[in-house]
Symmetry: C2
Subunit: 323 residues, 2 copies
């Protein structure tokens, strides 16, 4: 009896595992906190994989850059993981192949094969959370990039004189269009004396305002909260327009932690996308839709990796070494 396809998704706080049944639906789920360091991480993943048994195949998604060989040079999301051959270590622990990719790449695969972008040939996915991740499908194939690093859309620079980024540059898109960005914009409005309802929800302290407070007030129709969300949508749309100009997709999927509030900001995103897109009246506009698989998207995509022909160069061995 086949045991199904299992996938593990390593995030900054938790590792989530799923097993897919024959119809692609999730039949089992398990999770553990993400430990510090690559040895502890691999042990936790091996344990999670054992807990999920039985399964036939296993795949792995990891937050941060992942090489085509499943190595993590460094991840801002994973403490103590550096130059770590995570795939090789997990394969040694379990004795099975474990195809491995970036978590947003996995989420893209899942939303394309099973979720909001099903049936499309060209897809852009962005995950809006603490930062911004991304993934692409081009011409019916999942894009990994020459070294596995495609989709680092959060560090697309959209204002060279802009807000300093954790990455050391300035004006990265994720400073404006992520959960961190929405909080910054809300605090600016709060300190200017606007946003009373939102500040009240945050206990009266403008410094404590987070995205959730803005969402809650917006759901109650608070116009000041809605204005902050419109400004946030403006920045989301700017980056999406750049990605649409570059890749010309059929569907743009918006997921990640903020995806749960997509009903509040996707309509303004669509409106602002027309403003930012090159020649909007003389082109095809992509559909802009909310992700459909929630927090399981990465793990579901990891489970699908084993059977997916990705857009790989014909000779991935012919690559330059890490600097």
């Amino acid at each position: 009896v086949p045991g199904g396809r299992a996938g593990l998704d390593v995030g900054g706080t938790k590792c989530l595992g799923v097993v897919l049944g024959a119809d692609g639906g999730v039949v089992r789920e398990a999770r553990v906190p993400t430990p510090r360091g690559s040895d502890a991480l691999v042990a936790a993943l091996a344990g999670l994989a054992e807990e999920l048994r039985p399964w036939d195949t296993l795949g792995l998604g990891i937050a941060g850059r992942v090489t085509l060989g499943g190595e993590v040079p460094a991840s801002p999301n994973l403490r103590g993981v550096r130059d770590a051959p995570v795939r090789a270590l997990l394969e040694a622990a379990l004795g099975v192949p474990v195809p491995t990719a970036n978590d947003a790449t996995c989420a893209t695969l899942a939303e394309w094969r099973m979720g909001a972008a099903r049936g499309a040939g060209d897809v852009v996915l962005v995950t809006l959370g603490t930062g911004i991740g991304g993934g692409f499908v081009v011409g019916g194939r999942l894009v990994l990039g020459r070294h596995g690093f495609a989709g680092e859309v959060g560090h697309m620079v959209v204002d060279p004189d802009g807000i300093p980024c954790v990455c050391g540059r300035r004006g990265c898109w994720e400073r404006y269009a992520s959960g961190a960005g929405i909080a910054v914009q809300a605090r600016v409005a709060a300190e200017a004396g606007r946003l009373d309802v939102v500040v009240g929800l945050a206990g009266g302290d403008p410094e404590a305002v987070r995205g959730e407070h803005v969402h809650a007030a917006a759901r109650d129709g608070d116009p000041e909260a809605l204005a902050v969300l419109d400004g946030f949508a403006w920045w989301v749309a700017l980056g999406l327009a750049n990605l649409v100009n570059v890749t010309d997709p059929e569907v743009v999927v918006v997921g990640g932690g903020l995806g749960t509030a997509a009903d509040l900001f996707l309509e303004p995103v669509r409106r602002h996308l027309r403003e930012w897109l090159y020649s909007p009246d003389e082109r095809y506009l992509p559909a802009v839709v909310a992700a459909g698989l929630g927090e399981q998207a990465g793990a579901i995509g990891a489970a699908l990796l084993a059977a997916e022909p990705a857009a790989l160069p014909s000779d991935p061995g012919n690559e330059r070494q890490l600097a």
Copy 2:
């Protein structure tokens, strides 16, 4: 005896045609001025194709957006061409199939198959001229996008409060990193009293300064001209870094009219690319190289279209109509 593969490239000022011999080299070339209006354009292209005979196959590249069906909704480069089924009209005139794509897409194909990016699996090409065009190879396949519009990199917004663009938006990359951008930056320096040598080459009028004057002074080692080129390279690198973050290529090819001065600015572009790229010390850096095929690149790529399996979605008929 086979007649070879012919390609036509429609630019804003001229239409250039080539025929490739069995080894891929150009064996014949012809050109005509680009006329106004789609009927005159198709007649000129048909005449050019006749002049180039004998050939076995014919392809077409066009400046501006080109749908997968070879229609031109509107092109800022072609006067009087709007909602024009250029491919269908030329096929009717000649009685042969004429695969058609955007000119930068054709140039990408040519540089990948015959030029500076030969052998690579993942390529970004940008053409720096009056504006900026672009094209991509992903996983060993030429990228067209869902509707044929992939590669509009010049209108990637890199400063939302920036210089107004001809497209109606602000801060498009091509305002800074094109021939127009270099001229603007040079004039600003000239009006600030710097750049005496360059202004002298322009006949003493800061308003008359163009890219060629900056290049000429830089070739003579003029430090003020070199500083302007360094500022230009900074902007080129910013946009390239965005494209590299998004697509993770093996090779970045810089072509277009400014490509002839690549020896003056590619080294500063490589240096600034490290500054703009996310996590440059923990990733593979792409090679950044000058295009190898000069002004014939688009026509050569058009000649290669007929035999090229592009990254097309499986069902291109399932698309939304032009707005």
